[in-house]
Subunit: 324 residues, 3 copies
């Protein structure tokens, strides 16, 4: 199941999971992303380095924000962008995923951005594409969402500096969260003072996962003195699995981030959420839109991270094609 994510010169080629990247590779992408940040209200950075390259957004699972983020990242680097919602056409005809990929590769698509609800699809694609072609995971089942993990640690670093001294609490449905998974992988490499997982027992990960993290089923103690509180989106279909949480009101009472509950964290703690938010369930609007929230910065940082990742793998494409 392993997939080598770098080429023989050590350049990033695929981004399927953060688990197999080392600290230096992560830091290098993050520092690259900082070059693509801009102030709100200022024009975003643009570059022509992907001019003549073709990026296909292949979303087997619907998404507004992640697709828009990758689309704008590619366009601002001057790539040609092809958006394909494969539910609607050839998959309905029974064409296999790999036949779609090989078809697009034959049309000189260089970089595939793939989102899929099944585990293993991005890696399966990465193993089979031509040597110059790159695959970026834009969300894979419960398992991995590497650009989200990168934007999350970038956001922490920009506000709090080195993560290795931080107390970070992730609150909610950690068991089914590719966001939590990728954040954990990034923090494992970059270092973390203390990582706390907070949520009902049924939404905690298996005991052999998130090694080294502290688990807490109570919100107040779970976020006590935290520097970072990251709320996760709760899928409505989870309530059926929770023995003592019958509905969103009860979930909010027990695990919802409110201004009052946030008093347990450090006064300068930042609040994060990957979006889209269920306001009034896992987070109150007063917190989501309050002074501690960095939720909109996460979105801006996500675009910068995706530009950096595209720029990185583009170096592989050019080299493998024998250019420069």
């Amino acid at each position: 199941m392993q997939i080598r994510q770098t080429d023989e010169q050590g350049r990033l080629r695929h981004l399927i999971t953060l688990e197999d990247l080392d600290r230096e590779q992560l830091e290098s992408i993050l520092r690259h992303a900082e070059r693509y940040l801009s102030q709100p209200g200022k024009p975003p950075p643009r570059d022509t380095i992907l001019s003549g390259q073709t990026v296909a957004n292949l979303f087997f699972e619907a998404s507004t924000r992640t697709r828009a983020s990758f689309e704008l990242a590619a366009k601002r680097l001057s790539a040609d962008v092809l958006n394909l919602d494969v539910n609607m056409s050839s998959r309905a005809k029974g064409e296999s995923v790999m036949d779609t990929i090989f078809t697009l590769q034959a049309m000189h698509v260089d970089i595939f951005v793939v989102r899929d609800a099944s585990t293993g699809v991005p890696a399966m694609i990465a193993r089979q594409v031509a040597p110059h072609v790159c695959v970026l995971n834009a969300g894979e089942s419960d398992v991995s969402h590497p650009t989200q993990g990168l934007l999350d640690v970038l956001t922490m670093q920009l506000h709090k500096g080195d993560t290795s001294a931080l107390r970070i609490a992730i609150v909610g449905d950690i068991r089914h969260s590719r966001v939590a998974n990728s954040a954990y992988h990034a923090l494992s490499k970059l270092g973390v003072g203390e990582l706390r997982l907070v949520g009902p027992p049924e939404l905690m990960p298996e005991s052999d996962e998130f090694v080294g993290a502290v688990r807490d089923t109570t919100l107040d103690s779970g976020i006590r003195d935290a520097d970072v509180v990251m709320a996760l989106r709760l899928q409505k279909e989870r309530f059926a699995q929770l023995s003592d949480i019958p509905d969103s009101q009860e979930y909010h009472r027990r695990y919802g981030l409110t201004q009052a509950r946030m008093a347990a964290a450090k006064p300068d703690a930042i609040v994060m959420h990957p979006g889209p938010m269920n306001r009034g369930v896992e987070i109150d609007s007063s917190v989501a839109d309050g002074p501690q929230s960095v939720i909109r910065e996460q979105v801006a940082n996500g675009l910068a991270v995706r530009m950096a990742v595209l720029a990185r793998v583009h170096e592989h494409v050019r080299s493998a094609r024998g250019e420069a």
Copy 2:
């Protein structure tokens, strides 16, 4: 509910309704639009002024022609364009409209083009976006469709000159028509000789609306000696509300524009329709495709109007960002 549509320097920032613009502002946009007109069969005008800017077409209600018109207008001014059909993805996930907007704003979307079936959504967005960001209403419930109103008066002016001497008849479902509403607002500012509303009583607007207009429930007298006859699209679901019009055949007999009925209008009257047409219901093909029809010119003028509006609000974006 009011929203200021100009910035502090008096530049157009949002276009939510024509109601709050004055005559000079309307004329200024219309004269700007004329610069983007071109002959059929000649290449359309292009400009690079929106290069580096991002326009998001956010259509919460389906549309082919208006979306295509805004998309081409933005592309011909060299903007990056993001098309988002929000029914299909994040709205289904329960994300609120404003969270979608703030997410896209964090990705440096500068101009939002919004269509929504509910009243008040474009203004609600305009009130909350960042200072440099602009909102253009691309169709709002029954209430407002300002670029349609502008293209309608531009079409009248190009054929008939100053509208203040014209007898203009609007025929059909005026009560539920954002098209009629926006045309009325434009004509109120630019002047109109006589405005006639023609249709069955149940489709007439409330008595305190369309102040100054003459109402007529008979087609022949309603369009008598008119310079402009504008047919509106009739939604099939309206028949249930009409006590004495059971179906489209009866509607056509009473209010459908035919060559014979058009004889009541001035011989050089022009015929308009916002599209898409129900041929054989509110208008016959012999009229829609006949010598008096300016329906296709309306489409061409609409693209020019949208380019002009985008070019205008772009001046606000650049100024608010501290450029030039």
Copy 3:
């Protein structure tokens, strides 16, 4: 029903069917397409000749690969591209096809790429558009798919040279195949050594169609000593019409291309398929992905053919507009 596909100067204007083009015209497009070929792993050719032109992909029938191919062909020639899935919006509103076309034409769309499930739609459009506007058929009912026919013969020529000496077997649902139809038209003009139609009797074309072709209901004899074996996609709904083939397993046993069956063809025969494939039905993966398969090359050649066709009709657009 005939439509003139060239303008008065003999330049290609529409591409609706290959039936009405002569050998010289076909060869000229094919040689033009060769200039747009590139090695896998090399950057695809690009050109700016369609800069300032607008191509609308108007797909009334879903498609991933053909739409992507036309979209990338147009973008790599620097055109503005408008993707319209008309099922979802204005057609649902009852707008007629021609009103959609005239609307887009008024927005200065120069080239329409049309796919439709009904016979005659592309020609109907071509007959009515403005003199400078071009229509390209991207798949029409069972009848015609001219760019597919061109890419198929280009693929044969690149591997086997002149088609007039080749023994070519088309296997499967020839009766309902626009792919087979267009290949037949191209081969009729360019010459073919022997054309064999292989499949169950119910899927054979009418007796007055495919004049000159040999029919065979047995796979082994049908592909014996063939230079080219082209498998067609089998629609699942066909089984109901086949008296002695109840399901895909039986179809595969009788007409599926396997490595063992392919031994009947020439050792250097090439295997083609228009995609998307039903692996395990009309073709085995060992054949589809084997050394004789040129299926991915067909895709690459298709992009080159579409670039060539766009470049050709662009000459008509420019001339009809009075440019150079």
